[in-house]
């Protein structure tokens, strides 16, 4: 029997890599459609964030199809999200499906990860298998991140955005098929050659915009975030440094330099999600980006908390900031409208030399 998971953009491919290394298979999660969003809304508590609703909608769709074994990776290190460890919540929602079980991978250390896997798959899981499984997972996470980031940049820089979309599609399929580090390395080389051979526009990017926000919603580049990605084709260099890779790679030690960047902006005990957003905003401002785009899931408490802090940082640096709340009452039209107006504003400022 296959396991199933929710998508978080293309990152289910990495979870599939982990499971295959352990001799299991993972079904492809359904794409997020209005019906799945609606199902998530019906199931979830109204105050759950929009990312959470998407996850629940996808899980429900698969349970109704007959899948029963949920496998999900929240983090290998500290959680970015206060709501991510929701096994009990899922049990309360889905316990009525006979045979339902939730397997949460990850954990704060190798030993915890090993213990987690053994609790799900039995004591026969060996240490070398776990090493191999997490190597596959992290290798795929890194490569997915590289492909998505580079392709978003190329949609701004390349003369043929349509070919960029094809390259990305093909790269993700190859990452999914790749078994082992050598195969992943070959995919990486193939992708580099393909990306490097694309003809570039004569003119450079008109604007550079740094994207910060909720890591879970930023993962959704293939669905909700598609509208934002399209902005790149107007000659806007979109840079985001968060996403699923950051969650998967974060450790308490790796967070320290980020927290240091946030000194003076964040106080007390901020959540990891707030640290990511604040630290990246500090970097973008320091590097002279033309604007900041703050994207967060409606209902996300850490991102709601960081919003006024980002506003203050942007205002004092003289960098325009647009906060976009993505939720179940969001309409693409409204999102496009705000993005277009923001880009117009940045262009007008740049044209008149404001803020430089």
């Amino acid at each position: 029997m296959n396991h199933f998971t929710f998508s978080w953009g293309s990152n289910y491919i990495a979870v599939r890599g982990l499971l295959r290394a352990l001799g299991h298979e993972l079904s492809s999660p359904p794409r997020i459609t209005p019906a799945i969003v609606q199902r998530g809304i019906e199931l979830a508590h109204p105050f759950l964030c929009f990312s959470g609703k998407l996850v629940l909608g996808q899980i429900a769709a698969q349970l109704e199809k007959g899948d029963r074994r949920l496998a999900f990776m929240s983090s290998l290190g500290p959680e970015a999200c206060r709501c991510a460890d929701t096994c009990d919540y899922m049990d309360s929602l889905f316990g009525g499906y006979t045979g339902f079980s939730a397997h949460r991978f990850g954990g704060g250390s190798f030993d915890q990860a090993l213990a987690n896997l053994r609790s799900h798959f039995g004591p026969s899981v060996r240490r070398h298998q776990v090493v191999k499984a997490y190597a596959a997972f992290l290798g795929k996470v890194d490569l997915i991140h590289k492909v998505e980031k580079r392709c978003t940049a190329l949609r701004c820089l390349a003369a043929t955005p349509g070919r960029v979309r094809e390259l990305k599609r093909e790269a993700l399929q190859r990452i999914d098929r790749a078994a082992g580090p050598a195969a992943l390395w070959r995919v990486s080389r193939w992708f580099d050659r393909g990306a490097g051979s694309l003809p570039l526009r004569e003119e450079g990017p008109a604007l550079r915009v740094g994207v910060v926000g909720g890591e879970h919603i930023l993962c959704e580049l293939d669905s909700i975030m598609a509208v934002i990605e399209e902005t790149a084709e107007r000659g806007i260099f979109l840079d985001w440094r968060g996403g699923f890779r950051l969650l998967a790679r974060a450790t308490r030690a790796s967070l320290e330099p980020l927290k240091e960047k946030c000194r003076g902006h964040l106080h007390g005990a901020p959540s990891t999600s707030e640290v990511f957003s604040c630290a990246h905003a500090v970097d973008f401002i320091r590097e002279g980006y033309d604007g900041l785009l703050h994207v967060y899931a409606f209902g996300c408490m850490p991102q709601t908390a960081i919003k006024p802090i980002l506003q203050r940082m942007a205002a004092s640096a003289g960098v325009p900031l647009l906060s976009l709340s993505i939720g179940d009452r969001f309409a693409e039209e409204g999102l496009e409208n705000r993005l277009e107006a923001f880009i117009d504003l940045l262009q007008a400022r740049k044209g008149k030399g404001v803020g430089k």
Partner: protein, 328 residues
């Protein structure tokens, strides 16, 4: 040689606005009307009026804006299609270059734009709620059985301060019922509702924004004197409502069309538009599991253009697949 004119059309959730300008950016004619859900018919009827108003002038270009800008742009053959925030700023700055804050409240949208030295530096729009917009006033007028255009005047006759919970139109309605039951006058309730709308706007759209004079107030709601007075009171500064406050987006679209004029305008003649059977359909793309909703503009049975779809296939191809459609 014929005199020239440029057309701007702004179609929003509630109303349709058309402006015609001349070579000197002067407004030759401006029309504002409610669409009542019949957008294409409203645009056609307004164009008919415009056709008569411009006399022998030749329309050199056309710009569209508003939430229906794309499909109205396809209907007209617009030369430029721009978002309404930019359109309002362009229009307002042309008439009031000294403006430092622009407040715009329409049927279901509200905006604030901050400008410094004639350059927009920050903006915000309402998020997930229309409680601080014209929809709130429509609901209120309907509940009280008052024509919407009399609401503001009645509010100015208020003699006693009444607090209305304006955070949500539904709760506001409950509160209004309660206030009626407890004997408050309609005038006092209306004035309270105007203050509630302004409070809501300033706590949502205007939150954290330094609102500095000169402040321009635009959009259909700016015609309501009760709201104007509530803004002046809340901000401690006068709000300027310019002559063409309710068609500024259309004016801005016309200005941009003029500025970016092409050698030959793509705009169709008013006669062609009137005779067209243009309509809009939507279908669910069957090509992958994304199941995107795609909007198709149709004329004489042919697809003229597409909106929507995450992969861009419908914008890149002209494939006319036999897909079941439903009228929008």
């Amino acid at each position: 040689m014929s005199k020239k004119a440029w057309l701007g059309v702004d179609v929003g959730s509630i109303s349709c606005k058309v402006v015609v300008i001349d070579e000197n950016d002067r407004i030759l004619g401006a029309i504002y009307r409610r669409t009542r859900g019949r957008v294409v018919d409203a645009v056609r009827e307004e164009l008919d009026t415009v056709g008569r108003a411009i006399g022998g002038r030749v329309i050199m270009g056309c710009g569209t804006t508003g939430s229906a800008r794309r499909f109205v742009g396809a209907l007209l053959g617009a030369d430029v299609v721009i978002n309404e925030i930019t359109a309002h700023v362009r229009g307002a700055l042309s008439l009031h270059p000294e403006m430092r804050t622009m407040i715009e409240i329409g049927g279901e949208d509200s905006k604030i734009v901050l400008l410094r030295g004639g350059v927009p530096v920050d903006f915000a729009m309402n998020t997930v709620c229309a409680a601080g917009t014209g929809a709130f006033l429509d609901q209120l007028a309907s509940r009280l059985g008052i024509p919407i255009n009399q609401l503001g005047e009645l509010a100015t006759a208020s003699t006693e301060e009444v607090e209305i919970a304006g955070r949500c139109t539904v709760f506001a309605e409950s509160d209004i019922i309660f206030k009626q039951q407890t004997g408050h006058s309609i005038e006092d309730i209306l004035a309270g509702a105007c203050r509630a709308l302004v409070r809501n706007y300033l706590n949502d759209v205007g939150k954290g924004k330094p609102i500095v004079s000169p402040i321009l107030f635009l959009g259909g709601v700016a015609g309501n004197i009760g709201i104007r007075e509530a803004f002046t009171e809340a901000l401690g500064a006068p709000v300027i409502v310019p002559e063409h406050y309710n068609v500024m987006g259309a004016f801005g679209a016309a200005l941009v069309a003029k500025l970016e004029q092409r050698a030959a305008s793509a705009m169709r003649s008013i006669e062609q538009i009137q005779a067209s059977d243009f309509h809009v359909e939507s279908f669910v793309c069957p090509h992958c599991e994304n199941a995107c909703e795609v909007v198709r503009f149709v004329e004489k049975g042919q697809g003229m253009g597409y909106l929507g779809g995450r992969c861009g296939r419908w914008q890149e191809e002209d494939a006319e697949a036999p897909i079941p459609v439903r009228a929008v």
